[in-house]
């Protein structure tokens, strides 16, 4: 069997998730109550029998470092099983902050060489899916490919993806990154498998250029040389690049579009370094079509929502279509609709968030915040009887919350 080294890109500095990525990288954003985004790729790698993993991190990495730790939660620990976090480093000629996905890997060529893999598997840490990479490795070997990229069929042809035209012989004849008009509905999952020697050659050549992205710079070049093959993945695939897509993944969970139990995702169970373990959820209210984590105390109404551990919903509070992170408190008489609430938030008595919906987009983030969501940053305390209208975002740095917050507002 060929040896495969996996590199997980958790480096991207993308603030499209607004306050959710204010203090954490996208890969560390809480997902489905108890997980973080990176758990999905790490669990996939574990289940696929890949034993050596490097995680490339750069942007606000503390919560990610703490979460991933030594890799022991995914069994990447032992004499031949390793997980290394690869932050940017200085003091050597060729090192600096990562300038793009290809550069991040270029700067870690020595790490790759030290493992002597036959192939390098490159994955992103912000995708929510269950995939066995073994069939991909087999496909790559069977067709004697040196470069294979994974694609999935998407319904809404978002501008955020790369798209490929894949021929019947699996060869990619066209690849375009973030096009205005996608030529197909086969979107790149940003999962790439390279023969190690080819990857190193490509990275060394790319390093001399001005742009250092796999999607924009390296894949099109390979297509031109007729060297890139496409592997089609047919199972559910979600991503956490935008508020809308992040919410959609949670909606799919509630709609039971997939069986999360069967995905066997592992996480770091020692979240938030609690002195005692969290008690099972204490339920004495109305909870319907929702996912509730341990340590929650529900005496009010919760519908179509996903709650992380330790959320308290008091009697008389109503939570609808919302996602609430760890240890937030929703007091008596509060009303939440399509709210995404970060950790340790207080929603005081009789406050209302997103009650009437709104067509008014976010003024500051028109592209990112529409569809009636309301976002509240970590640790924010919303005073009693505050009204926050939809498409508003309150960052964790906001001070003095006014009583009325009109639709589309941003508070920093």
């Amino acid at each position: 069997m060929n040896k495969t080294l996996a590199l997980v890109l958790a480096a991207g500095q993308v603030d499209e998730l607004l306050t959710l990525t204010e203090r954490r990288p996208k890969s560390a954003v809480p997902v489905f109550g108890i997980y973080r985004a990176i758990d999905f790729v790490l669990s996939n790698l574990m289940h696929s029998g890949i034993s050596n993993v490097g995680v490339l991190s750069q942007f606000r990495p503390y919560s990610l470092l703490r979460h991933v730790g030594t890799g022991e939660h995914w069994d990447f620990i032992g004499r031949t099983r390793t997980l290394n976090i690869l932050p940017p480093y200085r003091g050597q000629k060729e090192s600096d902050w990562y300038k793009g996905t290809a550069d991040a890997i270029y700067q870690n060529i020595s790490f790759i060489e030290s493992h002597k893999p036959d192939n390098v598997l490159i994955c992103s840490a912000d995708h929510i899916y269950r995939m066995d990479y073994q069939p991909l490795l087999q496909f790559h070997a069977d067709i004697k490919a040196e470069a294979t990229a994974c694609f999935t069929k998407v319904i809404s042809k978002s501008k955020r993806f790369g798209y490929a035209v894949i021929e019947n012989n699996n060869k990619i004849i066209e690849y375009v990154e973030k096009p205005e008009k996608p030529p197909t509905n086969m979107a790149s999952m940003t999962v790439y498998l390279f023969k190690t020697s080819l990857l190193i050659d490509l990275l060394k050549t790319n390093a001399k250029e001005n742009s250092h992205e796999f999607g924009r710079d390296i894949l099109p070049k390979l297509v031109k040389q007729e060297m890139l093959f496409g592997y089609k993945f047919r199972n559910p695939w979600y991503y956490a690049r935008t508020i809308k897509s992040y919410y959609k993944a949670h909606q799919a969970l509630l709609d039971r579009k997939f069986d999360l139990n069967a995905w066997q995702i592992r996480t770091n169970l020692i979240e938030r370094a609690e002195k005692g373990d969290r008690v099972p959820a204490r339920i004495n209210g109305e909870v319907t079509n929702s996912v509730i984590s341990e340590g929650c105390v529900i005496n009010g109404q919760v519908a179509n929502s996903v709650l992380s551990p330790g959320v308290i919903v008091e009697k008389g509070a109503i939570v609808q279509d919302s996602i609430i992170f760890h240890d937030s408190l929703i007091q008596n008489g509060a009303f939440l609709k399509r709210a995404i609430i970060d950790k340790d938030v207080l929603i005081s008595e009789h406050s209302e968030l997103g009650r009437s919906g709104s067509d008014v987009r976010s003024k500051e983030y028109a592209e990112l915040l529409e569809d009636g969501f309301t976002l509240v940053g970590k640790g924010i305390k919303i005073p009693a009887r505050t009204r926050i209208e939809a498409n508003s975002v309150i960052f964790s740095t906001a001070r003095d919350i006014p009583e009325e917050i009109p639709a589309g507002s941003t508070l920093k």
Binding site: R256, N261, I265, L269, N284, T288, V291, E294
Partner: protein
């Protein structure tokens, strides 16, 4: 390596009166409160009191207990100078054999204690539900300049005959001691928690062993009372011995009763969360569109489509549509179909209950085989039992582990039966 205090945790209890719950696991390893095991309460008390060397004395079916304790990591008693050591009986040495009693177990492992040359030895049981800071006990013991101190708790008069009972003197000493007396002279019961000065304990254990005495309550404490300064420390918090099915069920239900004193949220109990050695971690619990849950504790990994009231569900329980569960304790990965009715039942792991079955019905008459154990209307379903569609299981019934009622073509089990 010198330590001020070493804890010796007695976890060898057979738990006969807990019937099939203790069939394949030691009593301290029986699940409690959804995600915990009984021993977690004592282990957490030890950890939260800052004691970092623990000898765990096991004997009876220790496998699930040893897996659960792991290397002490779940309680942070782990590292180069912190240690949870499982001490099973051993042969091949002069002083070793099966443990003949609680004090014998400690005596056979006295060399483990001496490695740390502690001033004090804390002896605790692994089968009680309580939250206690043992530092306060040690401070009391030191202030009293005692040789040994016994923890005491007030129990209802009518229950006193089940315990070791202390008669205390005004100066804090224990003047007299009665082990399970028919006519108790006080209601101050021993909690099975003791602190000893090391030399005193070594002397007392050696002396007891010479006279074929192997039990703390029967052989060690009565002798110490006469010769040394033994004090009583009264503990005022919630404390339950969960040695009977009724006591076990009631202590679980105390988790759901406000003001019961079992304040699990504030007790900071730790457990080993890698339960059942799963490949993946269990996701948070899904509550379906028709779920109705009242006053219940629901662990992770459950799927609830029916109605659950006054009940405690361990991880991985599935509850079908139009199913009703009342006043019950359900262990890990039990699958309950639709239109099922369950009342006052304790259901062990991996049980499958098919559509339309009813558990805990009919008149309450004591169990015919174990009338002293099962008489209050509870129903006990053993591990991996399968109950067929529309099956009827009467109250005070025991279905033994592994029984496939469907294959046995048993559909109607009258109250008080044992299958």
């Amino acid at each position: 390596m010198k330590k001020n205090i070493v804890a010796m945790l007695l976890a060898g209890g057979v738990g006969t009166r807990l019937n099939i719950l203790a069939r394949k696991r030691a009593k301290p390893a029986i699940p409690f409160g959804g995600i915990y095991r009984i021993i977690d309460f004592t282990m957490s008390n030890i950890a939260n009191s800052g004691i970092d060397v623990v000898g765990v004395l096991t004997q009876y079916k220790p496998l699930s207990l040893m897996e659960h304790l792991e290397d002490g990591r779940p309680w942070d008693i782990f590292g180069r100078t912190r240690n949870v050591e499982v001490l099973p009986p051993k042969t091949g040495e002069e002083t070793s054999d099966w443990y003949r009693g609680t004090s014998d177990a400690v005596w056979q492992n006295f060399n483990f204690i001496e490695e740390y040359s502690p001033e004090h030895i804390l002896v605790v049981s692994g089968d009680h539900i309580y939250n206690m800071n043992y530092n306060l006990l040690r401070e009391f013991h030191e202030a009293q300049q005692a040789d040994a101190t016994v923890c005491l708790v007030r129990v209802p008069e009518e229950e006193a005959r089940h315990f070791g009972i202390a008669i205390t003197a005004p100066d804090g000493r224990i003047a007299d001691w009665e082990e399970k007396p028919s006519k108790p002279r006080s209601n101050l019961a021993s909690m099975g928690v003791y602190i000893f000065n090391r030399e005193v304990l070594a002397w007392a254990l050696a002396r007891a062993a010479k006279k074929n005495g192997y039990d703390f309550a029967k052989d060690v404490i009565p002798v110490l009372l006469k010769q040394k300064r033994v004090c009583g420390y009264e503990f005022n918090g919630y404390w339950r011995d969960v040695g009977t099915l009724d006591a076990y069920w009631n202590a679980n239900m105390d988790l759901l009763r406000t003001g019961s004193g079992l304040d699990i949220e504030n007790w900071q109990v730790k457990t080993n969360m890698t339960d059942r050695g799963e490949i993946g971690d269990r996701p948070s619990t899904y509550f379906g569109r028709f779920a109705e849950v009242r006053n219940s504790l629901i662990s992770r990994g459950c799927m609830i489509d029916g109605s659950v009231e006054n009940s405690i569900l361990s991880p991985g329980v599935k509850v079908g549509k139009n199913t009703s569960i009342r006043d019950s304790i359900i262990f890990h990965d039990v699958t309950i179909g639709g239109q099922v009715e369950i009342k006052r039942a304790i259901i062990d792991k991996d049980v499958v209950i098919a559509e339309g079955a009813r558990v805990g019905i009919g008149e309450s008459m004591p169990n015919a085989t174990y009338p002293g154990q099962l008489f209050t209307g509870l129903t006990l379903i053993g591990k991996t039992v399968r109950i067929p569609a529309t099956g009827r299981i009467g109250t005070n019934t025991i279905i033994k582990p592994g029984t496939d009622l469907a294959r046995k073509k048993l559909r109607d089990i009258p109250p008080g039966s044992t299958v």
